[in-house]
């Protein structure tokens, strides 16, 4: 069979562009298709990114891609007590996703990748053995046509409908997603810290974030558990209503009360476990489409780029052998699960334990632990912080022991 391209990447987000940059850089013929009319638009993200992750890939982030540099994080307990955590782990940027995504995609184009926007994949084409060998696309709603390639990479983000057709289990359960709402607001005075507010009443099973941006702007957003039932939704169905909760938070915040809203949007982000397999014959899933998202804070840009690098390295080897079978691609899954996968699993454990902790206990925990304990917790070393908390409040042992058993 004659193929149009070596690989088709569905989705031009951070994962798709990163993958294409590396694959095209090594001489592969890569096509990115994205259903959006413009890469990066509309933005649906809090835009926070830790510095280390991008540096890992030897990329120099140009000034126009970010709005502010971040020095640390401020974590606020339900009673208002806060812990400020500054260190090399917490430096980063609040991006301009619109420009950032486009920049990443341009890098791929510079390496020789082809990009088609406003082009939606509507069907995965398969050969007689059921292995994907192309996609049916519709450009701007026009008559669909086929594009063929021996490898299809799904970098589709949350929706991942094509990945479903390839047989990946990308349907999200409500329990494992956070529904989010966010405003860009102005004016907001900040100290170059990202601020995270916790509380079961304010943001059940989630948090409110304030990510500062240049010119006194800030992304103010909320994520709440998809399965919480504290509000009335349409048709009398009970469910989380992030917009209402966010409005409530803003009303109570001295600074934000009178600030104006410049942008208003929402979204859903996975906070559960990654999908059970990332590769199949002639196809693979990377980034948020494979549910590779941090279960604690819902950050997915760094993980998406990291997994794209791993996947691209393996694909290059497979391309040399012209062998795109599952076995040949499996190395990507293996590397991911041995690396970032371990961290994500620990964060998931932490998320599941923390959602059982009441506001009062949360206040107590914040009173007891230091910024160093916070760092250890985020690194996955739970023993020391848990010991500290349980020493003063033994009744928490039942809940927190879940962190120690593994």
């Amino acid at each position: 069979m004659k193929y149009d391209h070596d690989v088709i990447v569905i989705g031009g987000g951070p994962s798709g562009s990163t993958f294409a940059r590396i694959a095209a850089g090594a001489g592969m013929d890569v096509l990115i298709i994205d259903k959006r009319k413009e890469i990066g638009v509309p933005v649906r993200c809090g835009e926070g990114l830790g510095e280390r992750e991008v540096i890992k890939q030897d990329l120099e982030l140009p000034k126009r891609c970010y709005s502010t540099e971040i020095e640390g994080a401020k974590v606020v307990a339900p009673n208002g007590k806060s812990i400020v955590w500054k260190g090399p782990e917490t430096t980063g940027w609040v991006l301009e996703r619109k420009i950032f995504d486009k920049w990443l995609c341009e890098l791929a184009v510079e390496k020789g990748a082809h990009v088609k926007v406003y082009t939606r994949a509507i069907e995965v084409l398969k050969d007689e053995k059921g292995r994907p060998n192309g996609v049916k696309v519709s450009h701007g709603g026009r008559e669909p046509h086929d594009i063929n390639a021996p490898l299809i990479v799904s970098a589709e983000g949350m929706e991942a409908l094509m990945a479903r057709q390839m047989g990946f289990k990308t349907v999200h359960q409500l329990y494992d997603v956070d529904t989010c709402y966010e405003y860009e607001m102005k004016p907001y005075d900040h100290e170059n810290l990202i601020e995270l507010y916790f509380g079961n009443e304010m943001a059940p099973r989630g948090y409110v974030w304030i990510f500062p941006k240049a010119d006194k702007k800030a992304n103010v957003g909320i994520g709440v558990g998809g399965n919480v039932e504290n509000g009335e939704k349409q048709s009398g169905i009970k469910g989380a209503n992030p917009k209402v909760l966010l409005d409530r938070f803003i009303e109570k915040n001295e600074q934000l009360k009178d600030a104006s809203t410049l942008l208003d949007f929402g979204g859903v982000i996975s906070v559960g476990a990654p999908i059970n397999e990332f590769v199949k014959d002639n196809c693979m899933a990377i980034g948020t489409g494979a549910k590779q998202v941090d279960p604690i804070h819902g950050g997915g840009i760094a993980l998406a780029m990291e997994s794209a690098v791993m996947a691209a390295d393996v694909v290059l080897k497979a391309h040399e052998k012209k062998d795109y079978s599952k076995d040949s691609l499996y190395e990507y899954e293996k590397t991911w699960r041995a690396g970032p996968g371990k961290k994500v699993a620990k964060r998931l454990l932490l998320r599941k334990v923390m959602e059982k902790v009441s506001d009062d206990d949360l206040n107590y925990i914040f009173n007891t632990i230091t910024d160093d304990d916070l760092k250890q917790t985020m690194d996955g070393n739970f023993a020391c912080p848990v010991a500290k908390v349980v020493a003063g409040r033994p009744q928490l042992l039942g809940i927190l022991s879940g962190l120690l058993s593994k």
Binding site: K35, P42, R44, R120, G141, G157, M158, E159, A160, L161, R164, T170, V171, H172, Q173, L174, V177, T179, C180, Y181, G226, N227, K233, Q234, S235, I237, K238, G239, A240, N241, P242, K243, D264, F265, G266, G267, V268, S270
Partner: protein, 103 residues
């Protein structure tokens, strides 16, 4: 009835247990619902399609489109929608029975 058969046909290999469960409930009750999306308020976040077990909501062009023939009326999309613009009309068999302003 035709819709029921179509749903059954599309579900010969149910994608997960939830679908089966809802399908059974539906069969027993013989009751249908309709999903509507208020497109004005929709922010195109694809939250609904990411939680829909049946691929019954998709972006088509520049708006979300719901495909009743695939839908099993589980209501997950209603709960997943951050903008709260999806409505489940219980016991309604036809779009025509829903007042225009609610569609």
């Amino acid at each position: 009835m035709i819709r029921l058969l179509r749903i059954l046909y599309l579900n010969v290999t149910p994608r997960n247990e939830i679908c089966l469960k809802f399908l059974l409930v539906k069969l027993q009750a013989g009751e249908f619902s309709m999903i509507t999306i208020k497109h004005d308020g929709c922010i195109l976040c694809v939250g609904c399609s990411s939680v829909c077990p049946m691929n019954a909501i998709e972006v088509v062009g520049t708006r979300m489109e719901h495909f009743p023939e695939k839908c099993i009326d589980c209501g997950l999309c209603v709960r997943g929608c951050p903008a709260n613009v999806i409505k489940l009309h219980k016991g309604v068999k036809d779009l025509k029975d829903i007042p225009k302003e609610e569609r």
